[in-house]
Symmetry: C2
Subunit: 421 residues, 2 copies
């Protein structure tokens, strides 16, 4: 094993405690023989003699068959994994950042050597999602995927909805409780979710998607006002990773906040839980739900991979590979069509609605509903559009800003729903 | 392929339409060469020359590597599968009745020959549940499993809850719409769910469970009155398949209606959808949701298995096997502890509650809550107990029946919830 942090320690303890049963299930003896760490110190339940500071000695050891990589980040994880593969070792990794940026290289290297590279733990923690998508849906065609894949943001949004609290307030509390990092950018601005979106969408659509292909917006702009409006419309606001086939047979891959109707199965996923909702041609809608992070849940996913890969090693076989034969183009966000909710502060006088409706019409954006809340001299207009492209929407926003009657555009949030529900 | 009904026709059409892509994914050419049917007739999209009346000719054909069995029922499916295995063919089957009654024999025969027997479609249709439990959770320990695994009963209960209709009324409509069989016994009395419970619990606990080991009650006794009481307590009534480890390290496997708190993820599974909720030691709670029946969803599961098994055949390998090393005893329902809701019609006079509470106490059944609805001369008592065994509960019911103040015991329904939520 390379690395021994929260997840690695849990993996080590479970293998040591449970090696007989794990070996029975794999049909071959599984033994943890060495752990590379940056600093040798006591870790409860793990014998000191397993530790080494020399990671190279592990990836070069001919008696080792399988490497568990839980260092995280790009280097040295990438180089060590490639070295291990070139030495004919199979890989189990939880490293989403590495897979989202260098996945194609790793897969190519592993398959060239006939080795497995398994990574169930890299996306959505304990939730079996990689194997169901790669293996169970191997006879089907995914058309759309929507996931709550970041626990921190889902926790924050849940508290905003249920306790009527502002974003900054909940974030500060989450940081104090250890649910959010001191620098929460990776979570709240959607970078973490974007890496997972890249991995999931490549798998779903049999193509390669890198994290830079993923359009990304976070939740730091979402206000309690937005949440209240969403609730009044029987919706919730969720940060979703979305990947879908477009009419032009490209794939649109994006992470952003959405208004989701409360009857959607993802709408009731609360707190730090993760869930992935998939629509496939034959299977129809599917959802996978569970804990997306944490030592024990992530270790559960890693150990499932360790048993499977050990079995392949014993049988001199290899599991289902990632495929990229479909080689699809990534749709530009500018051409991606979604519905939008827009909150506008406007002067409360006659003719305002007509002028605004005219502006939408000039940009070819069709309005589905308008709701008007008067308050003193100002009024708030809440507009939901029919499907419009990002480009059309941006042009509409620019045109609205030029109207003197528009005081402020408070929010623009996408509205999503399943097409087949 | 053996059989060509609703599911089989869909499987055939999908393989014929998609054989290039399926073959790419499997890494080996997949070709549908023959289909055994009872009667040769035109089936849209399937060339007539694929059909044969002679199923033996398929299972004995040395050029065939893989058999898809979609006949259903015990015979001739069982004999044909065993013959195919003895001729070194791998098996993909959707036959829950056969697996629930003869699974152990089939697994033993297949593994003795080094052949796969895959059956993702046998439980919960399109939902990937067999593979996640067998492979993804191979490094974890399941402690509890609760599933909505019968679409017909979930549809009926959903309509009772949402439209305030009586059981018989909804059942009649479901029969007219084709959602329920003319003879609905297998669904509404829980036989179908019991077969699935046997398969899932064997897999979850690495032991063999036959359908006769499963305690079973259906939903035909559930009234609109029960549903209303449940709703007033923020619960819903669901028919669940439940399997759990007992404190004595046995497994309790049962199918019966339960009151489930509306915040439980299973509570919002509506209509004919299926979902399986699993609690594992490391992973924590997981849920898998989707369509549990129908031609296309079931075909999706079968084709995923066909791709996996084809790959194993090409690699001269074999997938993860079912294991029964744990060899656990089945707990008697008499000793299984759950909470119960009891509705009693009693005479509305002073001292009644004291007498009834005394009766519960004498049987060692502890009362958690009592709610009393007066109406004319009678009153209804709604009692929820703390955990009690079936035996204790039955003794309490018998003792209550002897009290002159008890007019009627209208309902006794178990109350379940997740221990780790």
């Amino acid at each position: 094993m390379l690395g021994c942090g929260v997840v690695g320690s849990e993996v080590a303890r479970l293998i040591l405690a449970d090696s007989v049963e794990l070996s029975t299930r794999a049909g071959v003896k599984i033994e943890l023989v060495r752990i590379a760490v940056r600093e040798i110190m006591a870790r409860p339940g793990i014998p000191q003699e397993l530790f080494t500071l020399d990671a190279e000695s592990i990836v070069n050891d001919p008696s080792i068959d399988l490497i568990i990589e839980v260092i995280g980040g790009i280097e040295p994880a990438r180089s060590l994994i490639l070295k291990a593969i070139s030495n004919r070792k199979s890989i189990v990794t939880a490293n989403k950042a590495l897979l989202a940026s260098h996945g194609a290289d790793l897969f190519t290297a592993a398959y060239a050597q006939g080795e497995d590279i398994y990574y169930e733990a890299a996306v959505a923690g304990a939730i079996p999602i990689i194997r169901p998508m790669r293996d169970s849906l191997a006879g089907d065609h995914v058309v759309r995927l929507m996931g709550i894949v970041n626990g921190t943001t889902n926790y924050i949004l849940t508290k905003m909805h249920e306790n009527n609290r502002e974003f900054a307030d909940v974030l500060a509390e989450a940081q104090k409780l250890g649910y959010a990092e001191a620098d929460p950018t990776a979570d709240i601005e959607g970078f973490d979710a974007a890496a997972k979106a890249a991995i999931l969408s490549g798998l779903a659509f049999h193509t390669r998607v890198a994290v830079d292909d993923v359009y990304r917006e976070g939740i730091s702009q979402i206000t309690l006002g937005d949440v209240r409006i969403a609730k009044s419309m029987d919706h919730v606001i969720k940060l979703l990773a979305i990947a879908e086939l477009t009419p032009a047979d490209e794939i649109s891959v994006r992470v952003h906040p959405v208004l989701l109707h409360k009857s959607h199965p993802l709408a009731s996923v609360r707190d730090a839980f993760n869930a992935i909702f998939i629509e496939a041609e034959s299977a129809g809608p599917l959802m996978f739900y569970g804990r997306g992070a944490g030592g024990a849940p992530t270790a559960s996913a890693i150990l499932g991979d360790v048993v499977a890969v050990s079995r392949h090693i014993a049988l001199n076989s290899i599991g289902q590979r990632e495929t990229d034969y479909a080689d699809r183009d990534i749709a530009s966000i500018e051409t991606t069509k979604t519905k939008f909710l827009m909150r506008l502060e406007v002067q409360d006088k006659s003719g305002v609605l007509a002028a605004i409706a005219q502006t939408f019409a000039e940009q070819d954006v069709s309005i589905q509903t308008v709701d008007q809340n008067g308050r003193d001299d100002d009024a708030e207009l809440i507009i939901v559009t029919h499907g419009a492209t990002e480009g059309e929407l941006k042009a509409t926003v620019e045109a609205l800003k030029k109207l003197s009657i528009v005081t402020k555009i408070s929010s623009v949030i996408r509205v999503e729903g399943s097409t087949s529900l």
